[in-house]
């Protein structure tokens, strides 16, 4: 029996291993070199060798609004760059450009393995922190989409994100104090995460409430901190992974948001985020055959802290306007980003990596002291609900 929208390769592709570099504000070595080192680490962790890897995928975009030059191997690291430096001749090398980044590039690899195009794939994500302010841009002429924003003094994702955050507070009577509790939990979880920039560095509610404001109601602590860092995953088939050392984690389904239009600012209206996010969620539940209450480890995305509320409502964990109250329930939210792993706010701007990695670690029973008792089903979300993507993972193949 098949149902509409169901992922037919569910349980056929597994994560075999991973590696994560240290994360730093200032790079310790060229990003490309760190990427190669991390990929080698992931391959070793998975119990395979580099010559066995016949597929490479990444999302390499540097999502900065600064308008600086971008050089592959220095500011971004494409799979093409990796393969050329290593002198490999894999069967399959692709990249994903867009806002679903980690999730979408991961699913490209999953689909290549499921189809038989690839036996073993490496998916990496390399993040560069530009010197100076991440989004600051000294433009004097506003061309293209910038003409609708820059002449008004509107610039950069933190200011866009302030708009739905403010709309949410105003419409539902939520307050910054409500988010303070969640960001504090986020940083507490991040303080216990081995690759966190904020390792052993939690904050208090007072820290949050007195943080420097960027664009009301967004403060500096509502934005994940830009870092240099690389993560890599090794994927293979369910058959091959049985012979490898780590507990496999299987891909159950996925979904992509489609509201990635050119009209960025209109897409940041709160209603558009939630309505589009409900489409993403509905595709995720259809693809995976799962229900929200079956997910033990819902690693929702939090690169900007209010996005947590939007994901909770889009995914169906809370009705519209009640995500901010639901988030405060420590039992109902035990496996979520802000209780374990720490997500992006708690660990640093690795885009969808913290969410995907914590889901993998919990389901493969590799989360150490953070290990949840019940961790059989997880989802890893990335980006805004209407524009991002999500992957469903399981500890068993079916």
């Amino acid at each position: 029996m098949t149902s509409a929208g169901r992922f037919l390769a569910a349980g056929k592709v597994a994560i075999a291993g991973f590696a994560h570099s240290p994360v730093t504000r200032v790079e310790q070595m060229p990003l490309g070199v760190l990427t190669i080192e991390t990929i080698k680490g992931a391959v070793a962790d998975a119990g395979v060798t580099l010559d066995m890897i016949d597929g490479f995928s990444t999302a390499s975009a540097l999502v900065s609004s600064s308008g600086r030059d971008v050089v592959d191997g220095i500011h971004t690291v494409s799979s093409d760059w990796v393969v050329s430096q290593l002198g490999l001749e894999p069967r399959w090398v692709v990249g994903f450009q867009g806002i679903g980044q980690v999730s979408a590039s991961f699913m490209l690899a999953v689909e290549a393995i499921a189809s038989g195009a690839v036996d073993y794939a490496v998916v990496h994500r390399a993040m560069h922190n530009p010197s100076g302010s991440y989004h600051a841009n000294p433009m004097v002429e506003a061309h293209g989409s910038a003409q609708w924003e820059a002449p008004q003094g509107m610039w950069g994702p933190p200011t866009y994100m302030a708009l739905p955050y403010m709309e949410y507070l105003q419409r539902y009577g939520a307050r910054r104090e409500d988010l303070a509790e969640i960001v504090v939990a986020q940083r507490e979880a991040g303080a216990a995460y081995p690759w966190s920039y904020w390792k052993d560095d939690p904050i208090t509610v007072d820290d949050y409430m007195s943080a420097r404001m960027i664009a009301d109601p967004m403060s500096i602590l509502d934005c994940d901190i830009p870092v240099n860092g690389v993560a890599a995953f090794v994927l293979t088939t369910a058959e091959r992974v049985r012979d490898l050392p780590n507990n496999p984690v299987y891909v159950r389904g996925s979904a992509m948001g489609t509201r990635r239009s050119s009209n960025m600012l209109a897409d940041f209206a709160m209603d558009n985020i939630i309505a589009g996010g409900k489409h993403t969620a509905s595709k995720l539940w259809q693809s995976s055959g799962l229900r929200p209450d079956e997910v033990d480890v819902p690693q929702i995305y939090d690169g900007f802290s209010p996005v947590l509320w939007f994901w909770l409502e889009a995914l169906g964990y809370a009705p519209d306007g009640q995500g901010y109250q639901f988030a405060k329930d420590p039992v109902a939210t035990a496996g979520m980003t802000f209780r374990t792993g720490g997500g992006s706010i708690g660990t640093g701007r690795m885009h969808g990596v913290p969410q995907l990695l914590e889901t993998y670690l919990q389901l493969s029973r590799r989360a150490g002291e953070r290990q949840l008792n019940r961790a059989d089903v997880g989802i890893a979300c990335h980006g805004l609900p209407h524009a991002g993507a999500a992957i469903a993972l399981t500890a068993e193949p079916n």
Binding site: S65, S133, H135, A136, N137, P138, M139, V140, E141, A142, H143, G144, S145, A146, Q147, W148, E149, A150, P151, Q152, G153, M154, W155, G156, P158, T159, A162, L163, P164, M166, E167, Q170, R171, R212, M213, I214, A215, D216, P217, M218, S262, N263, L265, A266, F268, A269, M270, N272
Partner: protein
């Protein structure tokens, strides 16, 4: 580092970014120069779009035909943000300033942003009515902003 030539732009105090009209946007900036707000409308279905596009997202016609519809410039505040750290150095001296997301009355979901002037922060409310006014950035180039509609 070589010495900075005197003709080089002053990076610490750059001028405000000037919108550069293109094929799709020229009509918008021609209208603001006349103190009018004009929105791209589809001649097939009447759908209004901002920013202007190459194809109508209302009827998806593959024979696009557009006209500039002068609108009232009035709408309601969907949201706003008060910028306290300017990511554009040209606005560093202006902080704090407020940018509003305004839904124009002519069509549900027709959203544009602009600075919100002539109001105390504490007095801004969701759905408050506003209307467009225009600031001259350089000769012949005017950028719309919004002000409260007082009854």
């Amino acid at each position: 580092m070589p010495p900075t030539p005197s003709a080089a732009p002053d990076r610490a105090h750059p001028p405000k970014p000037i919108p550069v009209p293109d094929e799709a946007s020229a009509g918008f900036w021609e209208a603001t120069a006349r103190n009018e707000l004009a929105i791209q409308g589809c001649q097939h279905c009447g759908h209004l779009m901002h920013p202007p596009r190459t194809m109508c997202t209302g009827c998806q016609s593959t024979k696009p035909a557009f006209e500039w519809k002068v609108v009232s410039g009035r709408g309601r505040v969907r949201s706003w943000t008060t910028i306290r750290q300017a990511l554009l150095p040209a606005f560093a001296a202006d902080v704090p300033y407020t940018v509003a997301m305004v839904e124009l009355y002519e069509q549900a979901g027709l959203i544009m942003t602009g600075q919100l002037h002539d109001i105390d922060l504490a007095d801004i409310t969701l759905d408050m009515p506003v209307r467009a006014e225009y600031t001259e950035l350089s000769q012949g180039v005017k950028v719309p902003h919004f002000v409260p509609v007082t009854t």
